[in-house]
Amino acid sequence: MAELAMQATALVKWFGEGDARTVAVQGVSFDARFGEMLFIEGPSGSGKTTLLSLISGILRPNEGTVMVEGRDIWSMTSDRIADFRLNKVGFVFQDYHLFPRLTTVENVAIPLILKKNDWDKSIDEAMEYLEIVGIKDRALLPPVKLSGGEQQRVAIARAIASHPDILIFDEPTASLDGETGRKILDFVKKNILTDKRCIIVVTHDNRIFEYADRIMTMEDGRVIGFEQGGGREE
């Protein structure tokens, strides 16, 4: 069995207090392993995005732990958590959140620059990631000049630029047509997923479930089941 990349135990998160309290995540426990693509699916409001934020060091849980490399990330200082996000987690946001005033390659270089790398060195390295995602020829264009699929690839290149162990995709196909969405997932599965990396995808697009190794289903803030995905080689 592959090594654990992350282990979440009894995570609870609520918003508001008193009568206005809404529990978004209720006692969720699961783990993610290196070399797997774990899909988290469920209807809107089921707590998928909140759970994603809890395990990636973005939103502090009210209860529970998130263990990475044997340490609860929420026991760390805020600066250390920021370092954790920078070094261990790569994000591909639903709306990509690329900087329209920077070129494509500068967007990809952002995590490297945040790691205090030299500007020119970061740009050179970012070019390599653009080559990996197949859009090196678009390096000097601003992201707004790229198609949705190309912007998704830029976001992926930016996410992998910091060599993260855990890669998180939030609704990766929400802004793409079916074919482009499948192409992106196919590309990610073949080129980005490695034995030393775990990919967690939040989606409710069942057209891409074939790429999942495991699918975790959520409803009303709880995990209601796990199933093998179409991508698991038995």
């Binding site: 920021a82 996000r85 639903q94 709306d95 959140h97 005033r101 945040l114 205090k116």
Partner: protein, 378 residues
């Protein structure tokens, strides 16, 4: 850190519309502030022109005198009394008054006449043409070649005119360090000729100029002059007194202050609003940076850098524009009084720092409040 700041720089300058609006706002504010304060500096400088040009170390005058342009003549015994004070090397009278000259064309022109002590010519100007001893010649006057010189129809040595029905003749052309404030030409002559040619009151000495034996003698001289019922001021004190008069007693200072504050508020509003809009438009990106792993203080540095860069660029442009306009205006209008001093620049710089600080504060508050979780929620 350099990389982060480079990202901040590119985010700022690549948003050309916003960056231009920021620059225009700050440049405009600095331009207005510097123009206002420069005009005031020029007025203050020129208001002390006689003090600067004559150059005496200590001036004796009636205590009610506020500027060198005021004229409250003192009786002759004051000169004798001052000469007898211990510590005075010498003391000479100075005549300063206004007169009307009739030029050869028949036109009349107001002038300021400075009458120098006949025996010493203390406070005489530097001559460009003619000899200083010619001032003792019949009807002799020396004209100052400054911005007002053309108003006397560009006289030359030998040019004649009438002053209070007396014949006057130009025997020399001089230059002085500072032109006067009131836009009238200046003529130098001897003290006695000034009294003879220009209708005078019973008392005639406008100022007594003192050369003290040394600076330590000045307090004693001032004390003795005060005992006589008059006031002795050093050159700097007289300039300061003149400045205070224009600043606080004429309304000019208040008006300039109001205009400067309005310029500051306009600049602050334009740049603060534009910067706030810039931050709002990029808020999600700052949130994304936070999610990726940027620390709060790194985002603060980015915003501080952006606000400082825009402010300093606007400051430079504003100063440059103001100096350019003043230079061009002086070329076209030699009597234009504006003068940019280091104090004016320093004041504008402080104002710009405040603009940058307030703009940054607004941006920083907004950016620090954004939660990366909001980015996920969309």
């Amino acid at each position: 850190m350099k990389g982060i700041l480079k990202i901040a720089y590119k985010l700022l300058v690549n948003d050309k519309g916003k960056f231009a609006a920021l620059l225009v706002g700050i440049t405009f504010a600095v331009f207005l502030m510097v123009m206002m304060t420069s005009m005031f500096s020029g007025i203050l400088h020129r208001s002390s022109a006689t003090v600067l040009n004559v150059g005496a170390k200590v001036w004796v005058m009636d205590p009610a005198i506020n500027t060198p342009a005021n004229n409250i003549p003192m009786p002759d015994y004051v000169l004798d009394a001052v000469r007898s004070i211990n510590g005075v090397t010498y003391a000479v009278p100075l005549y300063s008054g206004g007169a009307l000259v009739k030029l050869r064309s028949g036109a009349y022109q107001s002038v300021t006449v400075i009458g120098l002590d006949d025996s010493s010519l203390y406070g005489r100007p530097e001559l460009l043409e003619g000899q200083i001893e010619d001032i003792y010649g019949e009807n002799a006057f020396i004209v100052v070649k400054d911005a007002e010189f053309p108003k006397l129809q560009n006289p030359r040595v030998g040019t004649e005119f009438e002053i209070n029905d007396h014949r006057g003749v130009i025997v020399g052309i001089a230059r002085v360090t500072t032109s006067g404030l009131f836009g009238v030409p200046t003529l130098y002559t001897t003290y006695n000729r000034a009294l003879q040619y220009i209708p005078s009151t019973r008392f005639t000495t406008a100022f007594i100029l003192i050369e003290p034996k040394n600076t330590t003698a000045i307090p004693y001289i001032k004390q003795q002059v005060k005992a006589l019922g008059y006031e002795a001021l050093t050159k700097d004190e007289f300039i300061q007194k003149t400045s205070r008069f224009y600043k606080y007693q004429t309304g000019v200072g208040t008006n300039v202050l109001i205009m400067t504050v309005i310029s500051f508020i306009v600049g602050l509003c334009i740049s603060g609003q534009t910067f706030y809009t810039f931050i709002l438009e990029n808020l999600e990106r700052f949130g994304a940076l936070k999610a990726i792993g940027a620390k709060g203080r790194e985002l603060v540095y980015m915003i501080l850098f952006q606000a400082s860069f825009a402010s300093l660029a606007g400051f430079g442009l504003g100063i440059g524009l103001a100096c350019l306009l003043i230079t061009v205006a002086r070329l076209r209008m030699p009597s234009y009084a504006a003068m940019t001093t280091y104090t004016d620049i320093g004041l504008a710089f402080i104002m710009v720092l405040i603009i940058a600080g307030i703009s940054s504060y607004i941006g920083v508050r907004k950016v620090l409040k954004i939660e990366p979780f909001d980015i996920f929620r969309g």
